[in-house]
C-alpha cells in the first residue's frame, strides 16, 4: 500500500499536474487561525507542510521569519503543534502533513518521543532543514521504521556524487532547493536552468517524487508544470502578514491565493 504522501503525488499525476505543496507556520498568527488555514487550503493543496517555528532559523528569509516569530510570540509550543495536526487530521478534507523545521526542536523532544508523537498525531513526513546527509542517516532510518517519510534536501551546490548517495538514502519524496537562497528569495536563475537540474535528479532517481521549492510564487509557478510537485511558502506567509496589517481575515485571503495557485498548474 502506498503511503499517504506517495498517494497524493499519484493522484496529482493522474490529473496531469504537479502536486501543490503549501507551507504555513504552525501557530501563525494563533493556534486556532493556523488550524483554520490548514483546513481551508487543504481544499486546493495536495500536501501541507507545517512549519515548526524556531527562533534561530539559519535558512529562512524574512517572510517565514516574521511568521515564525509571530507564532512564538503568541506562545506556540511543540505540543500545541502536534495538537494542531491531530485536529486537522480529524477534519473531513485532511491531507498529508509534513513537518518542516530545525533539528534542535526534535533533539529537545527526544528523537524517539518526537516520532511517536508524530505518528500519533498524523504527521506523515519530516523535513529537517539543518540535518543534512550523512548526519541524518540514523534518524532517517528511525523515521522509516515509524512509517514517516524523511525528506532529503538537494541544492544546486550538491555534487553529483552526493546527489547519488542522498537519493539512494531517501524515502519516497525528495526536495530540490531551486537556487542559492534562503526561503522567499526572488527567483534569481532561469526556470530553464532549474528544470535542467530537476531533470538531472529525475534521471538518477526516476521513481522518487521530487518537488521544487524556494522562489515559487504566483508569478513563477506556471513555469514548472512538468514536475512532480511544487512548494509555495514565503508568499503565503507574506499574505498572512499583509492580511493582518490590513485588518483582513488571513484565512480567506490565503485560501484565495492557494486556490489561484492550484488553478495555475492545473
Amino acid at each position: 500500500m502506498l503511503n499517504p504522501i506517495s498517494l497524493a503525488f499519484k493522484k496529482a499525476k493522474n490529473e496531469n499536474r504537479p502536486a501543490l505543496l503549501t507551507y504555513t507556520v504552525a501557530g501563525d498568527s494563533s493556534k486556532k487561525q493556523s488550524l483554520e488555514i490548514l483546513k481551508t487550503i487543504s481544499n486546493y493543496a495536495d500536501i501541507l507542510e507545517v512549519g515548526v517555528p524556531h527562533n534561530t532559523p539559519v535558512a529562512d528569509g524574512g517572510q517565514i521569519q516574521t511568521s515564525a516569530y509571530r507564532a512564538i510570540k503568541n506562545g506556540i509550543k511543540m505540543n500545541d503543534i502536534f495538537k494542531i495536526v491531530s485536529d486537522f487530521k480529524k477534519s473531513k478534507n485532511s491531507k498529508p502533513v509534513i513537518f518542516m523545521g530545525y533539528y534542535n526542536m526534535i533533539f529537545q523532544y527526544g528523537e524517539n518521543n518526537f516520532l511517536k508523537k508524530c505518528k500519533k498525531s498524523g504527521v506523515n513526513g519530516l523535513i529537517v532543514v539543518d540535518l543534512p546527509w550523512p548526519e541524518n542517516k540514523i534518524f532517517s532510518k528511525k523515521c522509516k521504521k515509524n512509517s514517516i517519510n524523511f525528506i532529503q534536501l538537494l541544492s544546486p551546490t550538491t555534487s553529483n556524487k552526493r546527489l547519488k548517495s542522498i537519493t539512494k538514502d531517501s524515502h519516497d519524496m525528495i526536495y530540490y532547493i531551486s537556487m542559492l537562497s534562503t526561503t522567499g528569495g526572488k527567483l534569481k536563475i532561469s526556470p530553464k536552468k532549474i528544470l535542467a537540474n530537476y531533470n538531472k535528479i529525475k534521471k538518477i532517481s526516476p521513481k522518487k517524487n521530487c518537488v521544487i521549492g524556494f522562489g515559487i510564487t504566483e508569478k513563477t509557478i506556471s513555469n514548472f508544470k512538468n514536475t512532480d510537485g511544487l512548494v509555495v511558502g514565503s508568499q503565503i506567509c507574506k499574505e498572512i502578514t499583509r492580511s493582518l496589517n490590513n485588518r483582513q481575515n488571513p484565512v480567506i485571503n490565503v485560501s484565495k491565493m492557494v486556490s489561484k495557485l492550484r488553478k495555475q498548474i492545473s
Binding site: 527562533n55 526542536m105 539543518d130 543534512p132 550538491t158 534562503t182
Partner: protein, 414 residues
C-alpha cells in the same frame, strides 16, 4: 570523554566534526555542505603548508604586531597581596583585540580561493572591525552583520568598520544582538556562498569555523609560552590562566599551547558573563548548567527553553552576550581540563575600576569579567603562583557604557 595528548584540540573531532562524540558537528542546510567541504579541504591542506604558515606569521608580526606584551601588574599584585598578577596584553594587537588573528586568516583563505567578498558577524564590534580592517588590507569587499542593539551600544567600533569601507548591516530580528547577527550572516551565506566567503567571529558555528578560529587565536599562547620561558626560564610550577568566555575564541587561543600540561601545573579558568546581579538572564551556559542543544550549526551547551527555542541573554558586555558557547569549551569542561565560572555585570565593572586605578591598563568589559575572578582568587594564592589574565580587548569601545555607569572620570579622552 577524554582529551588526547600531542594532538591539537582542533583536530580531535571525529569524522563528522564532533568533539567528544557530541559537541560541534555540522548542522547546516544542504546548500552549505559544499562550501564548507571546500573550506575544510583548503584549511586542512594549508595549515601544514610551510609557505602558508610563513605568510601568516609575516602578517601576524608585521601587521598585527606580534608578540603582544606580557607584563607584570606590580601595583595590583601589591594591592591584592597574594599571587603574582600578570597580564598578556592582547589588546596591543593591531585593532585592539584578539579578533584580528581569525579575521586575518579568513581573509588569507578567501583570497587564495578567489573569493572577492567576505562577510562576518559581530557582537562587541571587534570581530567586525578586525574583519573590515583585514578585508581592506587584502582587497576584499566586506559586509558585517550586527544586531541593532549592539550597533547602539558599541558605536566606536561601528564607526571604525564604516571607515574601513565595510557595509554594516543592522539585524532587527529576535534580541537584536550577536545571536541574531550570526543567524543573519549564515543566511546571507546560504544565498551567496558561490561568490562570498564567510568568517564566523568566534570559535562557534559549523566545525570548520571552530577549527579555523581556534587555530588562529592560538597565536596568543604560542607567544606566551616563549615569554614565560624568557621571564622565568621555564613554565612556572603554579600557573593559572584566566580568560573571559563568550563564544570562546580568546580563551581557547590563550590556553591551546598549554593543553598537555597537568592542570595542577597550568590551570585554565574561563569566566562567563553572569549578567546583571539581580537578573535571571545570563550568558553563562557552562556555569549555570544549560542543556546541550543546536545553535548555529553546532551542538553545544546553550541557553534554551524546554522546546528548544534559544533564549535571550543579558550582559553589559556585548562580546560575551551569546546564549551558546564553543564546542571546544564544552569539550574542555566535560573532560575537566578547564574550570568555568561567571562574573556579574557589577563585578566586571568593579574589576575595571580596580585595574584602572592601579595599573596603566584599560581592559574592556569582556576581560574585566576575567579580572574580577582572578583578583578574588589571587588573594588566597601563594606568592609563587603566577596568575595571568588575558586582557584581550581595550575599553575604548566601552566608553559610552563606562561613562554612564561609572561617571566621566573613568573614561580617558582618547
Amino acid at each position: 570523554m577524554k582529551l588526547k595528548k600531542r594532538i591539537p584540540v582542533i583536530d580531535q573531532g571525529d569524522k563528522l566534526g564532533f568533539w567528544g562524540g557530541k559537541f560541534g558537528g555540522n548542522f547546516v542546510p544542504e546548500t552549505l555542505k559544499k562550501p564548507i567541504e571546500d573550506l575544510e579541504k583548503q584549511f586542512d591542506k594549508l595549515k601544514s603548508d610551510k609557505k602558508f604558515i610563513k605568510e601568516r606569521d609575516k602578517y601576524f608580526k608585521n601587521w598585527i604586531g606580534a608578540p603582544t606584551r606580557f607584563i607584570k601588574l606590580n601595583n595590583l599584585t601589591n594591592h591584592i597581596g597574594g599571587a603574582q598578577i600578570w597580564s598578556k596584553v592582547v589588546s596591543d594587537a593591531n585593532g585592539g583585540a584578539h579578533k584580528i588573528y581569525n579575521a586575518t586568516v579568513h581573509c588569507l583563505l578567501a583570497k587564495r580561493s578567489g573569493k572577492k567578498i567576505i562577510i562576518g558577524d559581530t557582537g562587541a564590534g571587534y570581530a567586525g572591525k578586525m574583519l573590515s580592517m583585514a578585508a581592506m588590507k587584502f582587497g576584499l569587499k566586506c559586509k558585517i552583520f550586527m544586531g541593532a542593539k549592539d550597533i547602539k551600544r558599541q558605536q566606536p567600533n561601528v564607526k571604525a568598520m564604516k571607515k574601513n569601507g565595510a557595509d554594516v548591516i543592522p539585524v532587527y530580528s529576535g534580541s537584536q544582538t550577536l545571536v541574531d547577527a550570526v543567524s543573519e550572516c549564515m543566511r546571507y551565506w546560504v544565498a551567496n556562498c558561490d561568490t562570498t566567503a564567510m568568517c564566523v567571529g568566534s570559535t562557534v558555528g559549523p566545525a570548520i569555523f571552530v577549527r579555523i578560529c581556534g587555530w588562529s587565536t592560538s597565536q596568543i599562547s604560542r607567544e606566551l609560552k616563549v615569554q614565560l620561558i624568557q621571564e622565568f626560564g621555564e613554565i612556572p610550577k603554579k600557573l593559572k590562566l584566566y580568560n573571559c568566555v563568550g563564544g570562546g575564541s580568546s580563551s581557547f587561543g590563550f590556553w591551546n599551547e598549554f593543553m598537555d600540561y597537568d592542570k595542577k601545573q597550568v590551570e585554565f579558568i574561563g569566566v562567563e558573563a553572569g549578567g546583571p546581579a539581580k537578573s535571571k538572564r545570563h550568558a553563562a551556559p557552562l556555569t549555570y548548567g544549560s542543556k546541550i542543544g543546536i545553535l548555529h550549526g553546532a551542538a553545544q551547551y546553550v541557553n534554551q527553553n524546554s522546546d528548544g527555542q534559544i533564549e535571550e541573554t543579558e550582559s553589559i558586555s556585548a562580546g560575551l552576550d551569546y546564549p551558546g558557547i564553543s564546542p571546544l569549551h564544552c569539550f574542555l569542561k566535560d573532560t575537566k581540563r578547564a574550570r568555568y565560572t561567571a562574573a556579574s555585570d557589577e563585578e566586571a565593572l568593579k574589576a575595571y575600576q580596580i585595574v584602572t586605578k592601579y595599573e596603566n591598563l584599560r581592559p574592556s568589559l569582556e576581560p574585566s569579567h576575567a579580572f574580577s575572578v582572578a583578583i578574588k582568587e589571587a588573594k588566597k594564592l601563594s606568592k609563587n603562583t603566577i596568575v595571568i589574565i588575558n586582557s584581550c580587548g581595550d575599553a575604548y569601545k566601552d566608553r559610552g557604557i563606562l561613562e554612564k555607569k561609572l561617571g566621566k572620570k573613568y573614561v580617558k579622552s582618547n
